[in-house]
Assembly symmetry: D3
Homo-oligomer: 136 residues x 6
């Protein structure tokens, strides 16, 4: 049977800084520019989580949106919203919180809770003009 | 030759209700929550229809957008706009009008009118935060 | 001291029908067209509530957005979301639920809870292309 | 002669924290909630600057948008973008960087550079759901 | 009785060029920059037309949106859509088609067809970042 | 290792006309309708450029967004913005500037500057309702 993709938008606000502790200041500045501000800057991150699978013939759902909404709230928004990603989120202790890496971290967190028969995709907007997509 | 996907947005407003006649009220409430309101609720559905194929070297079109626009109007908007999906649209007489099922119904309706050499995709936004995609 | 306007967006989905019980069917059709569908249709209503007043020099707030968000949820979203406006919302028992009238009803409900020293404005989007504004 | 309002959108990303140094931690938490995170959080701020005046009959401009765009870049974006508002922007040394106060600070900075015959309005979006307006 | 503002969005695509025939090329370039391209450039103009008045107690309308939509189509879209403003629209024969001037022209055209008891406002987006407002 | 797609939005305004010099006027009118206006019309084109590849473990980037932004500016915006596509852009001397063909031209220009190990996709919005995608 053919598959349908269901998508849910969410969002969180966070501070971050791009840099490597093992690089010199000038190297950090050269590569990361103003994103390397040691006092941090921040974003309104928009997140689209998509789950692909067959429609359940009883409910008409691929996955109940209410369940997906709760999952995103518990696993992602409650963990990242109004946080400093570098300081307060353990995954970024030694991982640069670029949009690419944040998307992979979010995907890994959600993958544990999505039925293995279904595919998972994460799209993360750092700004309305910069965004990344990851499907595992 | 490489293929290009052309997409056209459309929209319609409709009322619906999620429930199964063969389930108890409490079972319907448990699964469908407030979407099971017997008096109905409604949405502004946004629809993106995409057709993928080779560019016609004469016109520079994969498919004339004016033709695609008319097709969506005649086959989808005129049939679903300002309607009660459960009561007035025959396809949902025995099919729960979830976003997933509506997208499949729309795809099936349009597929008949799109050249077989071309691929068809339907993205249906039930709200700006909930949407589904179907490609057959 | 100069005043600042603070605005908060919210949304709700509802079914409705435009008609007057004291008019003939043909008169209702002539004036309200397909909005007069007796089986109802529906919308994703977007709502912007704005409160204008002086900035509190202690907090830096005109009005705490968290308080405004809760007020909108309790007084408006919980009352209108996933409802049939004509049947389930008492204010529209004898009042046509046009966007104009819905905006006035929302404004009246919120006005009771906003400090009299502050001005209140409601903008209601029935669709992204049709919207109304009311300031009392 | 009648007046026209011309508006230009801009944006900047910044980190901030809401709190008062002269309040206890628990008082800060009670009033500012998670916005009081001592490690900061951040936003993509969207800014709309509007200037109202008569149309210059020679150019057809109220104010040259290219000039307004440069003014916003030099006076606002270069000063606030990728900054920590509390630590790096002198105006917020003793002023809570709420959306209301940021809007007033931006208005005051721009007012100096806009001809006195023209009116100035600033709309600042802290998130797509929270925004403030200030006209002096 | 209090007044409500009803708004309707529309759009048209057009080509234009900013310049004065009585100025030298270098003066046109200095003031209008790349908008002075003699081969023209173009925009997707978005238009919001707002009419303010009392709610008709019979219909619940300030003005029937279907009527407003038709009015905008007949008076504005049919006249400006897919046109070269400088060459094909008589109002711009001797008037620079800046966003400001286009908004005034549109307002003047619509004013003739809106009941005198109602106020009229036009907002014209030349791009999502540049827009103008005119209320007569 | 899994791949991530990074996307960057850009935009340009341009005039164009759809027609074939080797067709009669009536044939051009029949196929291209008002897009065949000999005086041109125009659009605000929105462009999303996406590059897919592995995350560089040093920087956390698939491709530095600052580099991608500059590339789009130099190769696309500086060449197409505020231009008449038919007259001023050599690629369209003998190629109809449909959205499909513009997307392919943009893709070909960018492909030369993107590392061969990475995939490239271009999405071009001619209007918010009409858009095309091309991946080579």
């Amino acid at each position: 049977m053919s598959k349908v993709k269901v998508s849910r938008k969410a969002h969180f606000n966070a501070a971050h800084r791009l840099y490597r502790a093992d690089w010199s200041d000038s190297e950090n500045d050269r590569v990361f520019g103003k994103c390397n501000n040691p006092y941090f800057h921040g974003h309104n991150y928009d997140l689209v989580v998509s789950v692909t699978g067959e429609i359940d013939s009883e409910t008409g759902f691929v996955m109940d949106m209410k369940v997906l909404k709760s999952l995103i709230k518990n696993e992602i928004e409650d963990v990242l919203d109004h946080k400093n990603l570098n300081i307060e989120v353990p995954e970024f202790k030694d991982l640069n919180p670029t949009a690419e890496n944040i998307a992979v971290v979010i995907w890994n967190k959600l993958r544990l809770h999505i039925d293995a028969s279904k595919e998972l995709e994460v799209v993360l907007y750092e700004t309305p003009r910069n965004f990344v997509s990851y499907s595992g």
